[in-house]
């Protein structure tokens, strides 16, 4: 275990999962199927990857404003990533998590962290406390 990297909370929660670092940004709408949990954007270098239960790392959001809805639907359906770590603020992803938490009481933490030391395949825990600092711990 290493010291937790600091992060900024966009949506609260605590989750652990296998890390998947995306090489390019992803639009959840059009790029992710909430029925299967798979990345379906054929332009994306990681097309076909399973995102369910992962700590998903991406530099930024992209594309459609429907991504909030698709992300919330994935959380409802149980196909969503366990947590999302963004390189810059993206409220569209955060919104999906915030609304799913309001509707279903399921929390998927969404945080912003530029330096996080996350590597695909390792397990990591993302903590986003609404009253304290957010952090990422790599196992």
């Amino acid at each position: 275990m290493t010291e937790p990297a600091t992060a900024r909370m966009l949506a609260p929660g605590v989750a652990t999962g296998e890390v998947l670092v995306l090489d390019e940004a992803l639009s959840f709408w059009g790029g992710f199927d909430p029925k299967t949990g798979l990345l379906i954007d054929t332009h994306h270098p990681q097309a076909g990857a399973a995102l369910t239960g992962r700590v998903l790392v991406m530099a930024s959001g992209r594309g459609s404003s429907s991504s909030s809805y698709v992300f919330a639907e994935a959380i409802r359906a149980g196909t969503a990533p366990a947590a999302v770590v963004l390189g810059e603020t993206d409220t569209i992803v955060a919104l999906g998590a915030i609304v799913a938490s309001e509707l279903y009481g399921i929390e998927v933490p969404v945080v912003v962290a530029r330096e996080h030391g996350l590597v695909s395949g390792r397990r990591a825990t993302v903590r986003a406390d609404p009253f304290g600092p957010a952090g990422i711990t790599v196992e």
């Binding site: 059009g30 054929t42 332009h43 097309a47 930024s60 991504s67 359906a77 919104l95 799913a100 509707l103």
Partner: protein, 423 residues
Amino acid sequence: MLGSGALSLSHGDHAALRGDRGDALQLAMRIVTRIAEAMQARELLDVASAHVDGCLYHGRAGLDFARRLIEGGAQVAVPTTLNVSSLDLLHPELVRLDAGTTDEARALMQAYVAMGCRPTWTCAPYQLAERPSFGEHIAWAESNAIVFANSVLGARTGRYGDFIDICCAVTGRAPAAGLHLDEERLARTVLRVEGLPPALLRDDAAYAAIGHIAGGATGTDVPAIVGLPDTTTEDQLKALGAAAASSGAVAMFHAVGVTPEAPTLEAATGGLEPTLDMTIDLRALRAARDALSTVKAGAAVGSVSLGTPHHSAAELRRIARLVEGRRLAVPVYVNTGRDVLAQVADEVDVLRGAGVTIVTDTCTYITPIIERVATPVVTDSAKWAWYAPGNLGFDVAFATLEECVDSAEAGRLVRDAKAWGDD
């Protein structure tokens, strides 16, 4: 309740947050303030109108959210238009969804109308009679509408997504952050369009291709595009913005000498040193066209889809002129808004006479209208060509409008070498 404490709220905001004005306003204000905190806003500001994307059905979560708002007594506080839905209410026979999904999609549409939203069902609200004025703060969702409002109208909206759109409409408030603020609207990247044949620079497809390149190159930044003629039309700027918001997360661009906040490059950048300064030439445009096409010239085509975003009256008139008197070998679909459709009755007769299918209220790439039609699909939309391979599993070809109609007539992909400067 609030995390950082840096967000300062008005008395009205506090009252809504406490629940003094009902459950729906409390929920909506809680979401607006959480997003304001995520955006590190210091306060909220009043919005004059809203455009809501949450009426397009992607599963139960959206319906659960709309019903929660309605149960709490939600009504919009500002004029609010609605984006495309999953159904074509004017032509219901076109849409091939199963009965259960159709019922839920219709219930979602009805829920937003019940909250006082106008049933406009278009992704191009800037083509409606009333549109935002320069400098006005608004809360718009739908990526192509956001980029058009900011760039072409000079109105100010953040890159809002589903859910926050209706929350802003119900509260009349939005975070004072992002593109609502002067400094965030300055260009950080410069794209120079150079060396394009004049005929190509008059073609709407060139603008879609430029937008596709801009989105890939600049991601979430505001680009300043240099080298577009002062005759550039709103339809061309629409095509550019829609493509840039699909291949990237562009929510605003400047076209120097064309869009209202960019009389000069210096005005667009505010004198800031750009983080990227690149040239878009003919080779790049042809590469974009090819990247948006999974089939080559001469390939058999299954159908043609036009109008993503929804075509304007001017674009429908152009298509009518192109198809009049020709025999179309494959189905041609044109997406447009019901308000635009009502303005072009004569052209609609010509289009229908030529066998063109007009789709309103929805769009061919978000709902299974052409499910049983053989692919590939030829389209004049870079956005359609970008999303269709993943969303629908279709082969596509991105083409000029003339190439689309020529291909529909020939039943195979026709490329006009001259149009793309391929001597």
